[in-house]
């Protein structure tokens, strides 16, 4: 994809605005692109991401769907097979469970199972994550879980630049890409180059260099992890923060390069602990960098409970800065 060319100044915008700008650009650039999902049009998007697009692009390209997750996701697959470049918005990952058969059994299989005859250039966007006191059925973080499935790509923009740039790359990809937007990020503000565009969706990124420990995270936990790293710096611990950016396929090279340098790692993952992306990163480090480690890799994940409504319980259930700091402190003390 086009790398960002220097010059042209910067603009300040929210993550929400960045996604909207990316949608607008995609709709303008390619007549095959359209957006479909619940309340993306007249309501303006449940997180107000698509506000204004219906007025500008009309109801043929900004399609409000009935509450029928399975058919509109499946129709996205079919429309991609039929030559379009659909962007399907599933309001939140919680509702994607109603469409998961289409994703796992159709989107992920058809290319391979047809002997390579058909590609499915489909983008599915969904909000993900907890932290808004929406309780057990509305607080899932299943992006790492989706990363189990061969045939799909899973990306998790954590920065304004990635919110702005990942959609174009996902659309350029001939295969299904799931974009998970952590709902707590929508109001985050930041500066990006005025001409910011597509960014790669292949590589993890070092968001903060450091030499003592690698903190490996993604999505909604990046901010907490960076805060933890700053705080640790005050104690003289220099943490490197790796943003996975793409959960499937994982960028082993960046992860392992960091861990080999720091010799210690903590994975921070808003998903539940067991059988999550954190375990996978740990497994890869085990397989490929075991002898480089000074201490066992640790993880800070969500507690294994349905996420509760009460503010204090929810906070206790999710990864937080202080838990990250404690995990690092424990790790730094634990080499023998």
């Amino acid at each position: 994809m086009t790398a960002h060319a220097a010059g042209g100044g910067t603009i300040a915008l929210t993550y929400r605005e960045a996604v909207r700008a990316a949608l607008r650009e995609a709709l303008e650039a390619d007549p095959r692109v359209f957006l479909m999902g619940e309340d993306v049009g007249r309501y303006g998007g449940c997180y107000a991401v698509s506000t204004g697009l219906l007025a500008d692009f009309g109801p043929e390209r900004i399609r409000d769907t009935p509450l029928s997750e399975s058919v509109f996701v499946g129709a996205g697959i079919g429309a991609a097979l039929g030559g379009m470049r659909p962007i399907v918005e599933v309001m939140t990952v919680n509702f994607s469970l109603l469409a998961i058969d289409q994703i796992v059994n159709n989107a992920a299989t058809i290319r391979h199972m047809s002997g390579g005859q058909f590609s499915i250039p489909l983008v599915i966007r969904m909000a993900t994550g907890g932290g808004k006191q929406l309780a057990a059925q509305h607080s899932h973080s299943l992006e790492g879980w989706y990363a189990h499935i061969p045939g799909i790509r899973v990306v998790t923009p954590a920065t304004i630049a990635d919110a702005r740039g990942m959609l174009a790359s996902a659309l350029a990809c001939p295969d299904p890409v799931l974009i998970f937007e952590n709902a707590l990020l929508y109001n985050e503000k930041g500066e990006i180059p005025a001409d910011a565009g597509a960014v790669d969706i292949d590589r993890a990124a070092i968001r903060r260099p450091g030499s003592d420990v690698s903190l490996i995270t993604y999505g909604g936990s990046l901010g907490k992890t960076l805060t933890a790293a700053e705080s640790l710096a005050g104690q003289g611990i220099e943490a490197e923060v790796v943003d996975l950016r793409t959960l499937r396929p994982l960028d082993d090279a960046t992860i392992l390069d960091s861990v080999r340098r720091t010799r210690r790692a903590v994975i921070v993952d808003e998903g539940w602990r067991s059988v999550g992306i954190a375990a996978e990163v740990m497994a890869r480090i085990m397989e490929q960098a075991f002898y480089d480690l000074d201490a066992p890799v640790a993880r800070v994940c969500s507690e294994e409970v349905p996420i509760p409504y009460a503010r204090h319980l929810e906070a206790a259930a999710l990864p937080q800065t202080d838990k990250i700091i404690r995990a690092v402190e424990h790790l730094m003390g634990s080499h023998d």
Binding site: Y43, G44, T51, A135, V305
Partner: protein, 332 residues
Amino acid sequence: MTQSEKGPAMPDRAHALDLLRGMIRIRRFEEKCAELYSAMKIRGFLHLCIGEEAIPVGVMQALTPQDAIVATYREHGHALARGMSAGAVMAEMYGKVGGCSRGRGGSMHLFDAATRFYGGNAIVGGGLPLAVGLGLADRMQEKANVTACFFGEGAVAEGEFHESMNLAALWRLPVLFLCENNLYAMGTALQLSESNTDIHEKAAGYGVASEAVDGMDVLAVEAAARRASDAIRAGKGPYFLELRTYRFRPHSMFDPELYRDKDEIEAWKRRGPIVTFSGHLRDAGLLDDAALASIEAEVEREVDEAVAFAEASDWEPVGDLTRDVYTEEDAA
């Protein structure tokens, strides 16, 4: 299948005032919730049923304590009308341990074993299969109970509606399907959601007895719910009521309401269940200012007590976070 009736006879004064009180109770309770949401005492999503109060109040008249209820995320009215304590519901919305779900569920997940209230459900359509199963359990245990299952018209587009209607009809299960058709699912108007907007006709297509009812008329709702539950208890299988109504408030506290205009809302408000029914009662000489004032005072006291209860309730200890993920007993 349709036998929709309008204007059932006015009941005796005590019952009539009970109905009115029930609706006012829900209205004032929710108005207080809105206030407490602004005050950030209540968080998360808050969906008010203001304008739709005739439905829970009317329906619950037909249910016995042994009957079961499955509701949606817009279920304060159902919980209160079912007889759940306003304090426990309010404490739930505060996230306090005195809440009906110990503060873990919040507004969308009110539960109460004592009244067989099997929860609000935040997945649109997600409660219907549960209701089918509850009906099946009652049937297999030869209990004459009804399971009342509330859902919005938006849920009709979900596959689970279809599967649930078919299975309940096929197995003749004692389920009372209650579709609260308030014309919108968030910002999506019915005609953007359904190729056939006649919901009760759709239900009839499954071979389920089905009626369309004026959901703004508490007496009509009560009468229909009685017909329906009588038929169900008589072993005639499931019954479907489409209750035509309107929500006066935004979908949730985050809704900018870009999709409908003020005039439409105002027109429906003039048909509001409380204002209309109060008018009928006054016309019939069953209500005067004093009686209304006394209801309002009683309700205000209850709501105030609910808030006080919620305020006084504790937070669940963080150490209990992982309790009840699994049932605590020696399982194996």
